[in-house]
Symmetry: none
Subunit: 423 residues, 2 copies
């Protein structure tokens, strides 16, 4: 079955806040097996609200509306929906009693504005809101359902969980949708698509594949609609296992996996440790590991060697190598990695040196030139990368690819680095 | 004039990601004096896209569409819009040449899927995308405009700023609204409002003040509508100068200013330098400076001393201090700051040591306990902070407040730290 979501509020349309309510509701509905067909945001204006409601009810079996239920006169959702469904506002005794008690307990005067919150459409089922003054409202027409909820997130969430979802499940006798998302890294979308085309074409027809590209990685989501839950979940597991066989060097894991979480898992499992020596990434590699809980189990520390003196003094880079090859060079990247591994006493070290931009480029070494290296017990390996003009992107890409270089090594040793054309 | 925004993507409808693009575009349009009337999110399905486009163009003069422009077959926005506006896809030579060059530089094979990105509707103006494979497309019909943009945020943002807004301004001959936003840090919204009430009440009536609170800081936006541009801009400058006098320790600067950009500006102006020694913030302080262009002018480097050995070996922290007071202590924070300043030869150093969580807390030093210190030519100053249970929040807060400690010192010396109750 299909649903639509309508959020009401000028603060969303001027971009002051993200529409986090719509995201949260979307996820709840999907998890419950309800497909969200469309989402709309409109302002606090009767014509817009009525238009959006009318179109949504024409397309979907259920419509969830949030916002515009406050006591002030700029909030008009309740009046507008009462008129749309052909009802009137009347005093709802249980709500009135609840509000009087709640506001009394909080020491808030029970004035006309608050009392107005207890006047509700006669044509709806009232969904009690324990956390605020605006109850939810459940309207039905020709078997279709429209639910109106307050926009305050914690009030809305409690109503969805406690009232709306159980009622939707019962009203529509729902079956579930199964989603699972795998994360790949290191293949451009076009190459990935070509590589896995035979796998994709052999998927059973009830599984839908979606590509969700990020700057950093590409997520592949398999969704089973209208299928028996356990069978679909097993089928998806099996399909992703086959996909992992097909692209072992690029398959990071499932939802939430990143290159750094993959490296963290590998290091923790092996009882090995990591250090960093960063120039152009400026602490972003260290920071991406230490952002994860449990980092102290394997991350010993790092050096951000922005100045040449930091490279020579803290990492033991040879001043002659700096003078001869420049800070952005294979020699310096390798010496930084080796120096960090030695100074920190770690099993591995990752190093980067490059020109993040916008300044500092030369014809020989334009902005976006990055050398990265990993030092291992076997030896040190370095590679050169060329990125673009944007500093933020260059830092992000160098961070992810330097970490990925260690991940590839941990997965398959030097051979994988060679196979990937990185050495 | 009115605009609408259409975002395309199943990942939004299933609640996997927030629709941050729509929020960002809403803000840009509003700042340009364009009112966003409605926002819609639809899936990658031709009928839905065409329906949403048709309704939006019936209501608004400009429609911005993002998403669905990737090279894979689930992305159909381009084909759908070409059909809707009555054009065909044809090879666009400049895009083809650009893609061949860009992918060549990045070492990505130029296959049929990539080549397909250079086939564009004959009925649109192509807006070149320097940062990705999908150009923007500008369609016109009866004076109304529809712009289709890629969904990757940094590609979309560059296109909006460089191509879309200038063209919209010209096409619709927009009057300018003057906006300027000041950033404050360190005062709660209610305290800030009380403190600046006299200033706010004395503003000329054609200037409107808006509070835009964030978790990290509060932005104050002054907007002049229907006023002569240069005069309004001068008036706003003068008003913000007066505001800065009123709250010198809390006024960070203007739109985009952060504690780190304020410190960067102060250090650059003075020709002074900075180093860092981070334990619980794990590289986030170094990373927040090096993320900004020009960091190499003042940032010499840093140490992420996660292990005790890194603290003693690289920063010269006394092992006896570690044994007696523990790693999370005034003594160790001070020695880290002094050690980083000495090792890096910088004018100042910032240090942090704390328990970010979720593990590692004790009854004496629960999760969220952070010591931070700054080393200066005059001496070293340390303070203790208590945050909450969430690792990410603890790292963010410690990062911002440790940097702010140096900022306060640079603005007014040790006296300000004392006045603020930090020492």
């Amino acid at each position: 079955m299909k649903a639509e979501i309508i959020t009401i509020g000028d603060e969303i349309l001027i971009g002051q806040i993200h529409d986090t309510n719509a995201t949260w509701i979307s996820r709840q509905l999907n998890d419950a097996g309800i497909r969200v067909r469309e989402r709309v945001t409109v302002g606090d204006e009767a014509g817009q609200i009525t238009g959006a409601v009318d179109r949504a009810l024409g397309r979907a079996e259920a419509v969830i509306v949030t916002g515009g239920l406050g006591p002030t006169k700029d909030d008009i959702t309740k009046q507008t929906l009462a008129a749309y469904f052909g009802g009137e506002l009347a005093l709802h005794e249980p709500t009135h009693a609840f509000l009087e008690q709640m506001l009394g307990e909080r020491g808030i005067a029970f004035n006309d504005l608050n009392r107005g919150q207890a006047y509700l459409p006669t044509c709806c089922t009232v969904l009690p809101n324990r956390n605020g003054t605006a109850p939810g409202m459940w309207f039905e027409r020709d078997g279709r359902v429209l639910v109106s909820l307050p926009g305050v997130p914690f009030e809305m969430k409690a109503l969805v969980t406690d009232e709306v979802l159980p009622r939707l499940r019962e009203h529509f006798r729902l079956r579930s949708i199964v989603h699972r998302t795998a994360i790949t890294f290191g293949l451009a979308e076009s190459v990935l698509a070509t590589t896995i085309a035979p796998w994709e074409e052999a998927l059973p027809p009830y599984l839908k594949l979606a590509y969700l590209p990020n700057p950093q990685f590409i997520r592949l989501r398999l969704s089973a609609y209208e299928a028996e839950h356990d069978r679909a979940a097993r089928e998806i597991e099996g399909q992703f296992a086959a996909l992992r066989e097909l692209i072992p060097a690029y398959f990071l894991g499932f939802e939430g996996a990143t290159v750094q979480s993959a490296v963290a898992d590998l290091l923790t499992a092996r009882g090995e440790t990591l250090g960093t020596a960063e120039s152009c990434t400026g602490g972003a590699i260290a920071s991406s590991f230490t952002a994860m809980a449990g980092a102290s189990d394997y991350f010993l520390g790092g050096v951000v060697s922005y100045s040449n003196e930091a490279k020579t003094g803290m990492l033991g880079v040879d001043p002659a190598a700096l003078a001869e090859h420049g800070a952005v060079s294979r020699e310096v990247a390798e010496q930084m990695a080796v120096g960090a591994r030695r100074a920190l006493g770690s099993t591995y070290a990752i190093a980067t040196t490059g020109i993040a931009g916008p300044g500092g480029g030369t014809p020989d070494k334009p902005v976006g030139t990055v050398w990265m290296a990993i030092a291992t017990p076997e030896g040190v390996y370095a590679r050169l990368a060329h990125y673009g003009q944007l500093r933020e992107q260059n830092i992000q890409r160098a961070t992810a690819q330097a970490i990925n270089m260690l991940r590839l090594y941990l997965v398959g040793g030097r051979d994988v680095l060679v196979n990937e054309g990185l050495l």
